[in-house]
Symmetry: C2
Subunit: 407 residues, 2 copies
């Protein structure tokens, strides 16, 4: 017998978190994998940051409100979500910039090896950053090699300096075997760099236990830090004495306020910071992260699996939707992706009906489920509306066929 969504919502230990978010009435928001919703606490924190800290306390806030330590204090809030002990995570720059730092640091830890192994269908910016390094350092020092997801492990060899992968694929939501790939890389003397943008906050992670070398990820998806929120870097303690990143900035200096003319990298993960970060953006992310303080990520993951499974199951009678996410919940991130030739128009028609998903070429409808604010009732209602749109073919209306810049 199928369990009612209402019953699941009533029994959901995470249900109370919905109230912590400021979501529009009546909207079913299934795009938290692209931009997380606004936590109410962020609104209040930003008022204080702007009006009191900046407006009234001005420059002295670098001390009195500890702005100067935000990269570390925000990083420390992210660490438990990664399964990382203290002192290994720092909040800084964007995911793209951080990939550059980490790829170069990894290449320098593996002199004589030049291969950066990744997946053809990795998120483009990850590949672009490696291509930029290849162009800058030359093919004798860096060479990006991309293979399919299935070929990764077999492609790691003695030439491989770094295996760089996005843990949960942005398009289809497929999860890589982090334990297996990391182990295989280490067996060949290679390092690993995981992009956790689509994982962090949606599932437990165990970077320390798996002896991951490096990781990065953004703050604006399941972490709800706001549009373009700062990203973070994880550097395993075992590499912190040797790993140096090439973007030498004043905030990553061993003694930033000495204003010494020579760069000396700071101890530990601080050396992965470069210039002055946006305090406003950092404080927003910091407040958003406080929501995770009491949360059991195993519960988050369990709810996520049930949400995505039920959503898929509700749509099995729509053969025109090709499921491109893994059918097995364990292999799937907190998103469901389908392919349909009219994918773009269907996403538009759904938005008009009050369900926000998003679209990615070619023909892919993506639906993200944020266990902190997505209810079982919403997932069911979204599936029902999607089925109605497919049945009625209302997506063929001209208004839904016009392409906009984004989503």
């Amino acid at each position: 017998m199928r369990i009612e969504s209402v019953a699941l919502d009533n029994a959901d230990p995470l249900a109370t978190y919905r109230e912590a978010f400021d979501l529009p009435q009546g909207l079913i928001y299934l795009d938290g994998n692209s931009l997380g919703a606004l936590p109410r606490a962020v609104r209040d924190t930003l008022s204080k940051t702007v009006e009191v800290e900046w407006g009234q306390d001005l420059i002295k806030s670098w001390n009195t409100h500890d702005w100067i330590n935000l990269p570390e204090s925000v990083g420390e809030k992210i660490a438990p979500l990664l399964g990382a002990e203290s002192g290994q995570v720092i909040c800084t720059d964007s995911t793209s910039i951080n990939l550059f730092k980490l790829i170069v640091a990894a290449l320098q830890l593996r002199p004589g090896r030049r291969k950066i192994l990744s997946q053809v269908d990795n998120f483009p910016t990850d590949l672009y950053m490696a291509q930029g390094i290849e162009a800058l350092l030359g093919a004798d020092r860096a060479q990006l090699v991309t293979v399919s997801a299935e070929e990764i492990t077999a492609s790691i060899d003695a030439e491989t300096a770094l295996v760089m992968l996005t843990h949960v694929n942005f398009r289809d939501g497929q999860i890589h075997d982090m334990a297996g790939v990391t182990r295989a890389a280490h067996e060949h003397g290679a390092l690993v760099l995981w992009d956790l943008s689509h994982s962090t906050g949606a599932m437990p992670l165990a970077l320390d236990a798996l002896e991951v070398d490096f990781a990065t990820g953004c703050g604006y998806k399941y972490l709800n830090g706001g549009p373009g929120a700062p990203a973070y870097i994880y550097v395993n303690r075992g590499h912190q004495d040797e790993a140096v990143q090439p973007l030498f900035g004043w905030m990553g200096h061993a003694d930033a306020f000495s204003f010494s003319p020579d760069y000396q990298p700071a101890e530990g993960v601080w050396r992965f910071v470069t210039g002055t970060p946006s305090v406003i953006a950092m404080q927003a992310l910091s407040a958003a992260l406080d929501l995770f303080a009491g949360i059991d990520l195993e519960q988050v993951r369990q709810k996520s699996e049930v949400l995505t499974t039920r959503f898929i199951d509700s749509l099995v009678d729509c053969p025109e939707l090709e499921l491109i996410s893994p059918a097995a919940a364990a292999a799937r991130g907190s998103q469901v992706s389908f392919r349909h030739p009219q994918g773009y128009a269907i996403v538009q028609a759904l938005a008009a009906a009050g369900v926000i998903g998003d679209y990615r070429d070619p023909g892919i409808l993506r639906f993200g489920f944020s266990p902190l604010y997505t209810s079982f009732t919403e997932a069911e209602e979204a599936a029902r509306l999607l089925r109605d749109i497919l049945t009625s073919q209302s997506y063929l209306e001209p208004a839904f066929q016009v392409r906009q810049t984004v989503t």
Copy 2:
């Protein structure tokens, strides 16, 4: 006869701008060269950005509120402050990161040359970024050479790829001769990169007219964009087809939403963007920049010169203060720096008396004058309080001798 400060304030065409800022009652804030004050409009814009754009309109704000074009739309607001025609300025990342992009782009435009010429006393992060490039590319491709301010022009030679200078020195406020240095660099086939962090918004600039190649600068000093506000990049149109920066990110791609696996740099200055920027930080800076829309920078500069000159003149009877800023107003940015062995304690004692300046090793007291909100009366009062503290030696109180992390 000495003109009264009150009379100058009454005649000041910029006096009304003070009301546009949310400054604490009774505080004399002379640190706008480090962190600009809070424009009231920023407060309102941020409420709207957070509550309406993020909170209610969510992901679709990338289109409907044109978040996607913020790097360009904010850049276009900065362009007139630089004396730059449209299409050459983009808002992105931090000054440090942008220096990296521009130094590497410049080196690639001058193959066979490796010398990056700068000033010993340049802002440390500028030197560090060049040192990072040197370490990354090797001494045969990049070599930082630093000389004193006076030796710059004579040190430019046929080996020089790039002359990289901060236009207004952070410590003493000395202004480089941008026209002369740029001309000398070009005569030797070298390029120039100006860091305008301490200039923009405080004086007119003429990048196009002087045929400057590259420039960058931060958004949080005289531009009042908030702590750690995003920085900008200027790329002279003449270099835009050839110059490529190495931090290949998805937002700098020719067709960002194609999610193509191969990087193709965007047309024009957009290729200098890397990853997703903080929308909140960008919108804050955008609102702050609107203040400059009707402003004549010649008036700003004139007021700045009178403010700093009168401040210096009010303290000529304090021989224990060694003026390290240029005595000639034309050679001085919008700041006044003195040296005193008890500099740190004096800055603390002044803060206790309601005057915020800042301190930089070794022994330097810095006072910034922001013509948009600093009045002549305040400058006079600050000088009087500083003189009192020096006379009474109240700075010797133990509380003023304790060093904090910052300022």
